[in-house]
């Protein structure tokens, strides 16, 4: 696995949260869990970081009212539940292994 700049292994994920008015799961804890599980393989950065390889859109519920139109034109992975977070985590773990 190579990142956008051709570097091996490490991925940069831009994080965009929804506003969190009535989250159905702890968005911050889920991202923290991902960070810890993926360790060195991934770096979480602000969503507007130019170096981000893709954007993780983390929404507290399935309404996902987050303003995605204003986000940079990059690949996006959506997380709106704990199971989404675990699925994306596995996907990224597999990617960074290869």
């Amino acid at each position: 696995m190579r990142d956008r700049k051709g570097r091996p292994g490490k991925l940069k994920a831009g994080i965009k949260y929804c506003g969190g008015c009535r989250p159905e799961f702890d968005r911050i804890a889920a991202v923290k869990e991902m960070k810890e599980a993926l360790g060195e393989a991934i770096e979480m950065v602000r969503m507007d970081d130019e170096e981000a390889d893709f954007i993780l859109v983390v929404t507290g519920c399935k309404t996902a009212c987050v303003d995605v139109e204003s986000l940079p034109l990059k690949a996006k992975k959506y997380i709106s539940s704990l199971s989404d977070a675990r699925r994306v985590m596995e996907e990224l773990a597999n990617k960074t292994k290869t």
């Binding site: 965009k16 929804c18 506003g19 969190g20 008015c21 009535r22 602000r46 009212c65």
Partner: protein
């Protein structure tokens, strides 16, 4: 350059104001650090801090239609239904984080109502209020200011119009016209967050007739303008905040405040006057403001979230959480609270574009929502008190729990379970007390009742806004009194 202030910068900006504030009969020299006022400052500061948090900025910020720059949503003019919906969500979010009135919504609602009304006055009279207003709005957005939305006059005898009161100052009015501006006198009562505000935006409080022309005025002033005096309102249990940071205050961080704001011959330059004797637009301004502000009671859903969380916690501490009636009461609290959320989302989702370009929420649904707000928090509070048990109002103070002499008795006899410290039980009870009958009950209960208009004000609007003919037509057609296009 637009600046998005953070909590610290906001606090520093308040220190520069030279407000004339009185409390308990004395002038308050240091408003920002006063222990009674400080929690309310913290609550407004949260509206700044949350705009910087990545996990909340999507709700807390918006894009200015004037500059295209990122601004705090509290200074934004709604540009679509999405903005209106996010406004409701912001209210719930901040209510759930502060468990009190965070004070900044009323200024946002005044700005939005003025953006519509100034445009409408100009259309009719060829005036230039909207241009002035937009310049002022640019200033507010650029400096990320907190504005007090000042509508409610003392009103004197409620059965008399402004011009018929025995004292002309019972409604805000113009007392002198000068080449460079006007001089006003009067007062605004119950002003939320007044001494935490950089600006005060004055609007008429009721429909004015021709005889009330001098009272049909709207303007904005810096909160420390010469001639303005603030007299702080008392809240029940307010002096507990003088006892230091003990858990007896219930909410350890946040609170709200209201004040009587007196304008004693205050000069307003023309560029800050947004309505001047156009009495025929007073109703429009009041109704648009009221609809926005009735939506703003989305914050009570957030406070409800905290109260429900506290009720569930005390039920668990008391070992009563598995009782079927307790479970059912928690369901009822959630049902009522989410019903309130439905109302504030619905009136936003059904919003429309006004000729000025501003989006207005649905007036009927906003009034229905606020009518529910005058009732449901009381029921939620009643259930919370039921679940809490009597100790909420009879428990000894934090000082007693800490006392070397009697602390051990408080600890022993108010302990419910070996895995729950007595102090935790007392803390959660004090929070429930705070929200349902202490300082925060001002916001959660009485503000829910009267803020943005007493219940009858909404009932009048509901009667006016429902399309009764449409309902009657449907009924008459279906029973065959009138002919419609039903399938037979």
């Amino acid at each position: 350059m637009n600046k998005l202030m953070n909590a610290k910068e906001y606090e520093e900006s308040l220190r520069k104001l030279k407000l004339k504030v009185y409390m308990f009969g004395k002038r308050v020299e240091n408003v920002v650090d006063d222990p009674i006022i400080r929690p309310s400052m913290n609550a407004v500061a949260a509206t700044y801090e949350y705009a910087h948090k990545p996990e909340h900025e999507d709700i807390m910020t918006a894009t200015s239609h004037l500059t295209g720059k990122k601004i705090n949503r509290f200074t934004h003019i709604h540009q679509g239904v999405d903005d209106l919906v996010k406004k409701s969500k912001m209210g719930r979010l901040l209510g759930s984080q502060t468990a009190c009135c965070f004070q900044r919504c009323v200024g946002m609602d005044a700005l939005n109502a003025l953006s519509i009304t100034t445009h409408a006055i100009d259309e009719k009279y060829g005036t230039e209020y909207n241009k002035r207003f937009l310049k002022y709005l640019g200033y507010v957005q650029e400096n990320d200011l907190t504005c007090d939305g000042a509508m409610t006059d003392p009103k004197g005898n409620r059965s008399l119009s402004p011009a018929k009161q025995f004292d002309p100052d019972l409604f805000m009015h113009v007392v002198e016209e000068r080449p460079d501006g006007i001089v006003v006198s009067g007062a605004k009562a119950h002003q939320t967050g007044a001494v935490n505000s950089h600006e005060v935006i004055v609007m008429p409080t009721i429909t004015m007739r021709e005889e009330d022309r001098d009272y049909a005025i709207s303007f904005a002033l810096p909160s420390d303008a010469e001639g303005i005096t603030y007299i702080m309102g008392r809240q029940s249990c307010d002096t507990r905040k003088l006892e230091g940071l003990t858990f007896d205050r219930g909410n350890m961080f946040y609170g709200g405040h209201e004040a009587l704001v007196v304008f004693d011959r205050v000069f307003v330059p023309w560029e800050r006057v947004f309505m001047y004797k156009e009495y025929d637009f007073s109703t429009m301004l009041v109704e648009h403001f009221a609809a926005y502000h009735r939506q703003s009671y989305a914050c009570k859903v957030g406070v409800g979230d905290v109260l429900i969380g506290a009720a569930q916690t005390i039920a668990e501490y008391n070992g009563a959480e598995r009782a079927s009636h307790v479970k059912d009461k928690i369901i009822e609290m959630n049902h009522l609270n989410e019903t309130l959320f439905c109302g504030c989302i619905a009136c936003a989702a059904e919003g429309h574009r006004e000729p000025s370009g501003t989006y207005q929420n649905d007036l009927l649904l906003a009034n229905v929502h606020k009518q529910n707000v005058t009732r449901f928090p009381y029921e939620i509070a009643r259930i919370a008190q039921d679940i809490a048990g009597g100790l909420m109002v009879t428990c000894p103070s934090a000082a007693d729990l800490a006392s070397p002499e009697v602390g051990k008795w408080v600890e022993k006899y108010y302990r419910t379970r070996d895995d729950v410290p007595t102090e935790h039980r007392l803390r959660i009870l004090r929070l429930i007390e705070n929200i349902t009958m202490g300082t925060a009950a001002v916001g959660y209960l009485t503000e829910s009742m009267h803020g943005a208009g007493s219940p009858q004000a909404q009932r009048i609007m509901i009667a006016r806004l429902v399309n009764m003919k449409h309902k009657q037509k449907a009924a008459k057609e279906l029973c065959g009194i009138e002919k419609g296009d039903q399938v037979s």
